[in-house]
Structures are given as C-alpha cells and as structure tokens.
Point group: C2
Chain length 386, copies 2
DNA sequence: CCACTTTCGCAACGCTGTTGCCAAAGTGCA
DNA sequence: TGCACTTTGGCAACAGCGTTGCGAAAGTGG
C-alpha cells in the first residue's frame, strides 16, 4: 500500500515531466489516480458512484474499484451512503475527504501578506492577514512568511500539509522559481524565492504570478467536457491576465504569458510608463483616476474583446482591487462591449450549432480579495487532481 | 505483431480522447510509440541510437529496444549504420523510413486547389495544383478534390495513405468537421465538409482552418526542449493567425482561436467591414492598398507585439500572399517594431537568465505558397508523432 | 417466495515497461 | 598479439497495470 512511505504525499507515481516524457506503469497509475481524484473533487458533497467514475474515465468498473480502494486506504476518499436503486443493488456513493490533506496558499502583495490553509476542495480552513512591505527585501519577507504559515498550521493542526503555493506580482520564472525585475523593487531581480521559501518553511513550494494563481484557482472543476478556456483579468495598480486554455493554465515558455496591461489599443496614443503608447493599462487607469469609470470599463472591454477574439475563450472573469471598488460598473461595462462585438459578428454559432449570437459571459471572480491566495493553494493542489 | 491488422495504420493503441481520459496499457504503448516516432522524425537523416532515445524519453534502453523492434517490423524505422565507438560497442543508428506511409494535404483556397502527397517527414512526394471556385459549392468541389487526390495517389503509388488533411479559410468547427459562415460563401454554412470529403476520398479526413494547418506544419520538430510557442501570421486577402502554444496547436473550444485580423489597435479608428473600428486587418490592408508598405508592416508589427506580450511566444512567422509579394519588407518592418518594444522593456531576461534584452525573432514561413498544403498533410501526420 | 437486475470484489490473465544477465563488438594498454 | 575493460543491446524472468470471467451481495417486481 502506498501509505507505507510518506503519509503526507499519496503515492501517485512518477508523473512524466517535460524532460522525460516517456510514460511507464507508475505514470499510468498516477494519471488515472489523479483523474479519479479530480472527478471526486468535482462531484463535491454529492459524491459519485464507482460506475459513474468508470463511465466518465473510460476505465472498467473493476479498475475504478482498485483505484478507489487505494484512495480509501490512503484516507483520501470514503464511502458515503447509497443512491436509490435502479432495479438492482444500489450504487455506493464515494466522496473526497476534504480534510485528509491541507495546502498552504500565500499571496505576496505589494503591501500585504495573505495566507490561507486550504483543504483538498480548496476551501480555506484558516486565513491570516498581515501587513508587508514587499520592497523591503528577503530579510524581512522570509521570516514574516514563515511566522504566518507556522501560525496557520498551529491553528489548524491535523492533516499533513502537501506544500505551499506562493503568488506574487511581476515577472518571474515559474520553472526555476526565480524572480525577475519586479517593478519598483529592483533588489528582488534574480532572487531564488522559491528555494528560499522552501527552506524557510520546510515545505515544497510552487511559485507563480498572482494572475496565474488566481486563474488556476478560478478554473477548478473543469474536468467535465474536456476542459474549458477562460481569461482572468486583474485590474489593481496594474493590469494583468491569467489564461486557462483547454483546461490548463497557460504560462508561456518563460512564464511571460498574460502581460495584458501593455496591449496597445490606441496607436500613437498617450505615452505609458512602459515607454509605449496607447497601452490599455495606461488608458484604463487614467480614466479611473479622473473618475470616468464608464470609459475605463469600455477600454478594458475593448481589450477583453481582442483577447476573446484571439483565444476563443468561453468566459471572462474580473478581479483586482480597482475592479472590486466598483465591481458591477466594470462587469457591466465590459459585458456591454463584448455584447456589441458579438452582435456585430452576427450569428457566430456555437460548436453545437445553436446558431444564436451569444456574447462571451463576463463575471466577477469569486473569492474577492482572497482570489489570489486561494489560487496559490491551488498551485499545490493541482498536482493531485486532473 | 501489429502489422497483422491493417498495414495502412500502425497499431498505436487507443489514444485517450477527451471523452475517455482514462489511460490503459494500449494508450500507454501508443504514447511511447508516438514519442519515439517523433524523436526519430526530429533526428532526420542523421538518425538516433537506441540509447539516445532512452535518454530523451526517460524510458529504459530495454523498453526502447522493444518499441523500435515493433517499429522496424512495421517498416516505419530501419537501422542505418553505426556511430563511432566511444570505447565499447558502437551504437546502432536508427532512422525513420520516410516513404513507409504517405499523407494527403489539401489546401482549399478561394480560387485554387492545392494538393500534396507527403511522406512521413512531411516532404511532398508529389504536388498538384488546379483552379477552383470555392464559392461554387459542394457539387463542384467534392469531385474536383477527389480527382486531384486520385491523380496524386496514382502518380506516387506505393505506400499506404494514412488519410487526408484539409485546410480551408473561414470559421469552421474542427471537432465536428462542419463549416460555419464562410465570408463571401454563405452556401457553405453548416455543411459537413469533413464527412463529405471522407466519403468522396475513401480516406479518414481531418478538417481545420488554413492558418491552423500552416502553424501545425511550421511547428514540426519541437520535440526537444519540451515544446515551444510561436505564432504564424497569415496576411492574404484577410489577416489570421495560427497559434502553437507549448508545442501544441491551440484551436480554442470552438476552433475560433487565431482571429487576429479584428484585433482593435486604434480605438475609434476607421470602420472595418466587420463593423468594428480600428481593426488591424483594415488598417493594414488599407496601407497596402495605398502602397504604403512601411505603414502596413508597422501596424502588423504592433499587433504582433501585442500578441507576443500576451502569449510569451518564442517567435513570429509570417506568410500569406500579401506578405509573399514583399516578404523582406514585411519581415523587417515587423521585426523593427518588436525590437523597439523589446528595447523599451529593458533587460527582460530570458529563462536562463542571460540578461540581454532580446527581441522575439521574426521570420518568413518556409514553404512559401505551399505552407498551408504542407501543414494540411501534417494534420494527419501529427497523430503519429508527439 | 422466486426470478431478475444491478453492483462490486476476487482470481486469473494479457500486456506493459523493468531488471538481471550475458553475448557481441569495439578500445586501449602491456 | 593478447588481455582487460567499456559499451551496446537482446533474451528471459518479473512486478504491476488494467481487463476479463465469474460469483456473492443487495436490491426490485411479480
């Protein structure tokens, strides 16, 4: 049984990484186990029966029985009652045991440190918030994070912690966990934050951009229907995007994807801090600064329409402090632009050929100010599920 | 041995599709076989040894021996000499047998039908070109394609044909193979072109947008380094893009990705045929029409810069008739804009931390007028490799 | 009470990649 | 020339994966 090794990490087998794309039997088992776990999570409180799992995975019922037996032995899944009979033996309902493991999510914002301890469903079991001067450097930041995370773990106790997901602004390299030239904080350039935090916390750490973490967290439960595509637009002191394409977070080769703020939408427009002219971020924030929310939302909407056209995403989610200050104004303003574009396009026709011209829906990201921290925990949890 | 069944299709096992993501042993074998085939193709004339294959896949040498033995039995691979010894028994070099199978690539352009018969490396073994009025409808098109493909197969004879990849303009649904409202040819709306062609040709058919096919063909041999991301920009009578992200063609949930022409880069700019204002396509083609190639290239470059920022692509490739009329002008003009943007960005720092500000390279798509047809064949071949 | 349906686990099985071992085919030094 | 050594790569046995065949358990319906 897999629990013989390390109780913290269910034995999911060696997952093939980019360097070794060959798949062996352990990778096979890991794939199917993660798949079943993902379906269990997607099922939520309701649960799923073994036969439903078999139907959705394409595996035989017997294979599902073996896999779920392992998961139950590891404490990750449990039986939870029965469905009504359909003429024979009633199906046994299986459910994820949310509290079987925990994951830490850390949101390093420019002026605040927000930490959550999430269960396997991503729901926070505990939250801590502390002021932080991100520009003060590693000497201040590392102990602060270690202190907060320790406090979280003390408070919640119990289940093993899988690791910590850390989300922070600015350019960085997800693969190596090294920061690049963060705007307004040059001393971080080249700092190996992931490894430093891993040592400080004594946990595996995954580092990513705040927008990516948020998008990953918002993209949970797309297991059905073969994955969806959406964009999360984050408007705070800057403007960025997180892209989930075909159900997977798209980071780009150098973790540079989602630099949405400096899309030029006004050739030869007003000069932006970045040196270019007519960037969305500059136009949008200028409109906000002069109190013209309608104009700000319209500019954001036009840029969002470009993104929707280019990437064929299914929906657009909005978040970030500036948006959260006037959530409905932004949502409705962006939605109007997208609706106008869809109308111009005429009957686009969805994949199933419904034929109706339907605009891409716009919604506010759930989680509010905690969107990024929740997503950071998901950086760790995502490795378990598929 | 797998050749017992159908000699045309090497038995690669059931590949898990979106509907049944569970993986069994056949899927495992298929994955590894395709992986090895992909490396063999990437190695080209030079070939690869079994141990090199083992190193790159992460499989054991013994597993590679078993896999390559199957491939040799199917005629897909062959031994081809030896490397110099490094102190022991010299390595045996394995090579793909390009002529073992063929694939048809069909490019349905608005006024022309271009068909290629490609070998396993994607090189065309035969080419046929015929005039075509795409607007004339299925009654004209289907027999024309059938005739050309039959002539191609007669001329080349020999190896089994895996299938036909078909690339055509305008919106369509790759998953179902149905056309949507093609601009200027309303009678095609809703026509199941894939299935109709499959029946007419007696071959499996894969249907996709011309830009997607081109991008897929241009993205061959990214097997090393875990896949790359690039964009193919096609400027003809319209403007479109094909996106290869993380080594895979990105189509979007409804095959709508890559609608690059109607990116708005000039808010409240000149009205475009699509109803919006300030679309790249309108601005760019207007500049071409008045003979101002510099302005056209600059507008295209600005839009390309937006795309590079948003998707972090590694390179940009240009193609299409309008570009091919003045290839260097466009290439250099677009490259200049990207270089300017990169310079403004300062030292972006590549993933390996070289620290130098390096612009994303711009190049002309190879293949010239045949780029799309070659890519169409790749729609079929891609299923064999990984 | 019995026939039937449906769920689900045990045991045997086929196939995968892996391991242990050995022959083949070179190099390099005495 | 001969011997020790290194490296390649196939054969055979093996562990572990999902699959198949079958039977027990647990319901429904007449």
């Amino acid at each position: 049984m897999s629990s013989d090794n390390d109780p913290a990490l269910p034995d999911l087998g060696t997952r093939p990484d980019a360097a070794a794309p060959g798949a062996n039997l352990l990778a096979l088992r890991g794939h199917n186990t993660a798949l079943v776990l993902g379906l269990l999570r997607a099922a939520g409180e309701e649960g799923v029966s073994r036969l439903e799992l078999a139907g959705r995975t394409g595996l035989t019922p017997q294979a599902v029985s073996k896999i779920t037996a392992r998961l139950r032995a590891d404490g990750l899944a449990a039986e939870a009652g029965h469905r009504a009979s359909t003429g024979g033996k009633p199906r046994t309902v299986l459910r994820l045991v949310p509290g079987a493991r925990h994951a830490v999510g850390v949101h390093l914002d420019r002026d605040e440190l927000l930490c959550v301890l999430a269960d396997l469903t991503g729901r926070p079991a505990a939250v801590r918030r502390a002021p932080l001067d991100f520009g003060a450097g590693a000497g201040v930041l590392l102990p602060a994070v270690a202190r907060e995370v320790a406090a979280l773990r003390d408070a919640a106790g119990g289940p093993p912690v899988l690791g910590a997901g850390v989300a922070c602004p600015g350019p960085l390299d997800h693969a190596t966990g090294v920061l690049r030239q963060v705007t307004g904080a040059p001393q971080w350039d080249g700092f190996p934050l992931r490894d430093a935090l891993a040592e400080a916390l004594g946990l595996p750490v995954v580092l990513d951009k705040d927008t990516n973490a948020a998008a990953l967290g918002l993209g949970r439960a797309p297991v059905e229907a073969g994955g969806t595509s959406f964009a999360y637009l984050h408007l705070g002191t800057g403007l960025g995007a997180g892209l989930v394409l075909d159900g997977d977070l798209y980071r780009g080769p150098h973790t540079g994807a989602g630099e949405f703020g400096h899309q030029v939408v006004q050739l030869d427009g007003a000069r932006c801090d970045c040196g270019r002219r007519g960037c969305v971020e500059a136009l949008c924030l200028a409109a906000v600064a002069r109190g013209d929310l309608a104009a700000a939302a319209r500019v954001l909407g036009e840029a969002a329409a470009n993104l929707v056209e280019l990437l064929d995403v299914d929906r657009v989610l909005l978040g970030g402090r500036t948006v959260l200050a006037h959530p409905e104004r932004f949502r409705d303003g962006v939605a109007r632009v997208l609706a106008d574009h869809a109308a111009l396009r005429g009957r686009t026709g969805t994949a199933s050929g419904s034929g109706a011209a339907s605009a891409v829906p716009v919604a506010l990201a759930r989680g509010g100010a905690r969107t990024v921290a929740d997503g950071a925990a998901e950086l760790v949890l995502a490795a378990l599920f598929r």
